[in-house]
């Protein structure tokens, strides 16, 4: 491999800067264009969170409100984690086509500190209440044999230490990759891309471990009796497709507003659509594999988790997930014209985001009334607490995201892979 000289590279950058798609108007939103939207979203979100607290007070049931809040938190964390994952994957495999969409994934990734803030609030609430949803906190490990064995992992000090590690690793990776990317916008130093690639190599390994153990701690451990080595991958599967469809929605909306013309073309939409298709199938594969092995082996401590989610109405939600999260998007995304059309993938994207929320609801919500006789479980009239909790977190998250999108350029300005991304085309 030969390296090009500094002068040759300067000529490449100049050529990129002259490309019609890289005109300043095309890759910047008008100043303050998203400021109003951002403020409205954050306002709505805070209102939603206040309503969630009100729900906890009105029904004097903090468990339900915390579960709704946790569903929202896990959904937005999944999307942000996906942003980090794809940014690192694009760097790692040197994906030339992705250069013009990478900034949107970076925007998602930079919401990770906010997500960790949401998780921190949840953690404080849990520890302060002595384990409302993380019921293992209230279990006496002297008398409970299973808890006796799980105590080395499931204890409050180590939970806090793990949270600090998770938040530290994710914030470090996100900030570092963001710094490289924005510094390159200013200086045009092509070796920042190399640094980002090296960071991504180790970063992906750290990401895999953090995502898996994060899922163990905040999703799987809600039922401390349950264990599944697949659970980390189950959550990871949600991070991948959800971040793809959010980026498809963001770029689609920006293109509707007449920006990013030529920079993000239907060729990019097609590729992101293909990845969405693949990872929707991946989710189904993971979800089924986990369920199938537990169903087959039929060991009480494992199958109890699924038994509880296949009764009391939750079996309907499971059926909706199987059909709506897999069969429908699978059949629709098989069609090439859908994957190549911004509106087509946007419609599927909104559908899939709804499925992401329902998936998290199905995993978390049954834990609120676990062990309570069916007659004492309140009816559906408390739905508004769930909606307030989920939308509250999601709106704050989206507001912060919108403000970040509005501030910076919509694509990396001097990425060495831009010439390839600007001319990207699917030959088949």
């Amino acid at each position: 491999m030969s390296q090009i000289t500094r002068d040759q590279y300067a000529a490449v950058l100049e050529q990129v800067a002259r490309h019609p798609a890289m005109a300043t108007d095309n890759i910047h939103l008008p100043e303050n264009r998203l400021r109003g939207l951002s403020r409205v979203l954050i306002g709505l979100g805070i209102g939603g969170l206040i309503a969630t607290i009100a729900g906890a007070v009105v029904y004097s049931n903090i468990k339900h409100a915390l579960a709704a809040y946790l569903v929202g938190t896990l959904c937005v964390t999944a999307i942000s984690l996906g942003g980090l994952f794809w940014t690192m994957i694009f760097h790692q495999v040197n994906a030339g086509w992705s250069a013009t969409v990478r900034r949107q994934f970076e925007n998602l990734m930079m919401n990770l500190p906010l997500c960790m803030g949401f998780v921190f609030i949840f953690l404080v609430a849990e520890i302060a209440t002595g384990g409302t949803l993380l019921t293992w906190m209230g279990v006496d490990h002297h008398t409970n044999h299973l808890m006796h064995h799980k105590r080395p992992w499931l204890n409050e000090p180590f939970l806090v230490v793990r949270f600090i590690i998770f938040a530290g690793v994710l914030t470090f990776l996100a900030n570092r990759l963001w710094r490289f990317s924005t510094e390159q916008d200013r200086t045009g130093d092509r070796f920042l891309t190399l640094k980002a690639r090296k960071t991504s190599a180790g970063g992906l390994l750290a990401f895999a471990l953090v995502t898996a153990f994060f899922a163990f701690d905040y999703v799987m451990a809600l039922d401390y009796r349950f264990f599944s080595t697949m659970f980390g991958v189950y959550y990871f599967a949600s991070t991948t497709f959800s971040s793809l469809v959010v980026v498809l929605l963001i770029t689609g909306l920006i293109r509707l507003g007449g920006r990013l013309t030529g920079a993000v073309s239907n060729e990019h939409v097609h590729d992101l659509g293909k990845l969405t298709f693949g990872f929707t199938v991946f989710w189904a594969y993971i979800a089924f594999s986990q369920y199938f092995l537990i169903w087959y082996s039929n060991i009480p401590e494992e199958s109890a988790w699924f038994v509880y989610r296949k009764q009391g109405g939750w079996e309907n939600l499971a059926a909706i997930l199987a059909i709506g999260h897999f069969i429908i998007p699978f059949l629709i995304l098989l069609l090439r014209p859908v994957k190549r059309h911004p509106a087509g993938v946007a419609a599927v994207g909104i559908w899939l985001l709804a499925m992401l929320v329902l998936d998290m609801v199905w995993v978390i919500r049954p834990m609120v009334y676990v062990g309570i006789p069916a007659a004492e479980i309140p009816g559906a009239e408390r739905w508004w607490v769930d909606v307030a909790g989920i939308l509250g977190v999601a709106c704050v998250w989206a507001g912060v995201l919108a403000s970040r999108i509005g501030r910076g350029p919509l694509v990396p300005l001097k990425d060495p892979r831009l010439p390839e991304a600007l001319e990207h085309r699917n030959w088949v």
């Binding site: 089924f288 369920y291 199938f292 169903w295 087959y296 039929n298 090439r336």
Partner: protein, 206 residues
């Protein structure tokens, strides 16, 4: 385009209606003419010539180049293949039949109690349903691709044409066959000349 064009030998034994139309075109030496071959010296030359042939409405023709030419499928007016539709339909049919087969075996024909699980439970059927779906899809894709391309094919008159060997070296060719409904000896000759062919050859059958 008929199967008989690709399999000349079995075509002899086909009913008369399915036999290929007799060739009425003759080469200069009086032997049956299979097609006209135009040679081009440059890739852009053959690319633009392909656009002319496409616009003239020919269907039984091909372009030969020593290396892949990006975008030439547009210049040749290729449409996307319909094969994926066949693959999709047959894969879903195969998966459905595969499920039905397992359900019939486990829940109807030979009910074998396993751990007290329901006989017709969908869970154990899923992997095999998936596998049969993939198998049907893969076979349809492979066999369909071969059939649509007229493969396997053991001989083509171009192989006997000495000058055509340059297509794997440094020359580009466009070949229009006489079986094309729009084929007209003089018109094709004129089209090639107007497209800037460096040389035009007759290719005889055999």
């Amino acid at each position: 385009m008929a199967v008989a064009d690709y399999f000349p030998l079995p075509a002899k034994y086909l009913p008369r209606a399915l036999q290929p139309a007799p060739n009425r075109h003759l080469a200069a030496d009086g032997s049956p003419l299979h097609g006209l071959l135009a040679e081009f010296d440059t890739a852009p030359g053959v690319y633009h010539a392909a656009e002319h042939v496409r616009d003239a409405g020919f269907t039984a023709w091909d372009l030969h180049s020593p290396f892949p030419l990006h975008g030439v499928e547009d210049a040749m007016g290729f449409k996307r293949t319909k094969l994926p539709i066949a693959v999709g339909v047959i894969a879903l049919t195969g998966a459905g039949l595969g499920y039905l087969m397992q359900w019939w075996m486990s829940a109807v024909a030979y009910r074998l109690p396993v751990q007290g699980k329901p006989f017709g439970a969908w869970e154990p059927f899923t992997p095999i349903t998936f596998e049969i779906g993939v198998l049907s899809a893969a076979f349809t894709a492979l066999i369909g691709m071969l059939a649509l391309n007229g493969l396997p094919r053991f001989h083509h008159p171009l192989y006997k044409h000495e000058h055509f060997l340059a297509s794997s070296d440094d020359k580009f060719f466009i070949y229009i066959e006489t079986r094309d409904p729009k084929f007209d000896r003089a018109a094709v000759q004129k089209l090639f000349e107007q497209s800037g062919a460096a040389r035009i050859d007759e290719v005889t059958e055999g």
